[in-house]
Amino acid sequence: MKILVTAKRLMDPETKIKLKKDNSGVDLEGVKFVVNPFDENAIEEALRLKEKHGGEVVVVSIGKPEVVEQIRTGLAMGGDRGIHVNADGEIDSDAVARILAKLVEEEKPDLVLMGKQAVDDDSSQAGQLLAEYLGWGQACFASKVEVNGTTATVTREVDGGLETLELQLPALVTADLRLNEPRYASLPGIMKAKKKEVKEVTPASLGVDVAPKVKVTGVTVPPARSAGKKVESVQELVQMLKTEAKVL
């Protein structure tokens, strides 16, 4: 089976946030970048499905030439080839979905696997938008994926429990964190990845207008909570909660 996976480049989530001087966005100068952690789960799952059923894993990333680093990470984990959609500036979730829809038309994968959200803008939209644009079924927040011929049985992490759906392939699945434990790239994997093909396309070559439907007009940092008191005993704690915080 052929699987398309995404590898979004974003700021290492452990990094301390700094805003740009004009408060137009987060200052990304000099920070470390990683593959979106949920995309790593998606890549891992794609590789496991390939190991079981055979096929090909294609790793896609959208952005400036630097995002090829994240594609190479996916290839070092075991992906077969990459597609770099070379685009500058802000690309919103809707543009991502329309770009991916075009790539799906060309590549005709059986499955698209993505992270359930990117931990920079935290929107959790691109996968669902893509499924609708393609007229496909979807299973978001997946914790288990099984492919049986022309269908996939997917368990989803939803409010109040676990839901299982049967999807007709091709379909869209987004990965939740318990889907798997992503592997580390091995040294031979990293060496091999350097030689794997990464094709470059652009939104224009795909015929996609990336003018944003949602624009960030400014950012602020919310006021931090300040440290309160240290209490010495459980008795003191209960007393404080009763008489000072009055929450009991």
Partner: protein, 320 residues
């Protein structure tokens, strides 16, 4: 004047209380823009849910009742919501950002050619909102540029709407759910007598410090009639189910009292609970970042401290 459509959430004919946060957001948006809001209920046998929602000040309650809609599927629900929004000329479609809201609304947006703002915490205008990004460490102002706007509402930012009395007219809408390619197989419900995480007045959460033993957390939660949560580390380790996860990638809660037990306080955990009114941290590491924002900190071994705390609460006659 914006026409607003609120999508209600129900499960097998029972209203999900999260819906009322979206109603609150709709009220705020209606006030800002001088518009009004209708509420859409969709499902199978949802008459009672619709009746209940007539008391919340909506211009009308629209009902799409169809056996095909018994189980939520993104494809069929997405089509019905988008079709109704079009027929009603809705300019703003709102739903609370539950897992269903997150799953559904982007599909609605795609069908409406609408831009979507996720997890809004403030309505600045018909097309302008505030929303958290980067695990809540950044609050962004966003502007949607399309004629129709879709937005999911962060539940903790809007307290549940109170019933206003009065009765909105009910209107049946014909809805073609199409033919979804996806089949519902099963729902394995987490059984619990405890209150729901996002609705509870008190939440007790456990983390890595429990080393997988959540008994003290359970006992404390039971003593207080509290909901039980967990950090991502505890979920990652497979100690507790993912729907207990509080944080950027789990649930966002804002109870009156949040007790973090054996949780170090990573950025991603703070994102899920920092709007709680009072935060208590119990951790044996006095340097843990959780103490930097907690209102009350107690340094100690949770396996010793928590049972004592349970006794003390019982002595003080608080909780359940």
């Amino acid at each position: 004047m914006a026409k607003i459509l609120v999508v209600a959430e129900q499960y097998l004919g029972q209203l999900r209380s999260a819906t009322l946060s979206a109603v609150s957001a709709a009220r705020a948006a209606a006030e800002k823009t001088g518009g009004d809001y209708a509420i859409l209920v969709l499902g199978s046998n949802v008459g009672e849910v619709a009746d209940k929602l007539t008391g919340y000040g909506a211009s009308k309650v629209l009902v799409a009742d169809n056996p095909v809609l018994e189980r939520y599927l993104a494809e069929s629900y997405g089509k019905v919501v988008a079709d109704v929004a079009k027929a009603e000329g809705a300019e703003l479609v709102l739903m609370t950002s539950t897992t269903t809201g997150k799953d559904l609304l982007p599909r609605v947006a795609a069908r409406l050619g609408a831009g979507m703002a996720s997890d809004i915490t403030e309505v600045l205008g018909a097309k302008a909102f505030k929303r958290p990004m980067f695990a809540g460490n950044v609050i962004a102002s966003v502007e949607v540029t399309t004629p129709v706007v879709v937005a999911s509402v962060r539940g903790t930012a809007y307290s549940p709407a109170e019933a206003t009395g009065g009765a909105s007219a009910k209107e049946t809408v014909s809805a073609d759910p199409g033919t979804p390619k996806t089949k519902f197989v099963s729902f394995d419900e987490t059984k619990s007598d405890r209150p729901g995480l996002t609705e509870a007045r008190i939440v007790v959460s456990g983390g890595r410090g429990t080393k997988g033993d959540f008994k003290p957390i359970e006992q404390l939660a039971d003593a207080l009639g509290a909901a039980m949560g967990a950090s991502r580390a505890a979920v990652d380790a497979g100690w507790v189910p993912n729907d207990m996860q509080v944080g950027q990638t789990g649930k966002v809660v804002a109870p009156e009292l949040y007790i973090a037990v054996g949780i170090s306080g990573a950025i991603q955990h703070w994102a899920g609970m920092k709007d709680s009114k009072v935060i208590v941290a119990i951790n044996k590491d006095g340097e843990a970042p959780i103490f930097q924002g907690a209102d009350y900190g107690l340094i100690g071994d949770l396996f010793k401290v928590v049972p004592e705390l349970v006794d003390e609460f019982k002595k003080a006659g608080v909780g359940a």
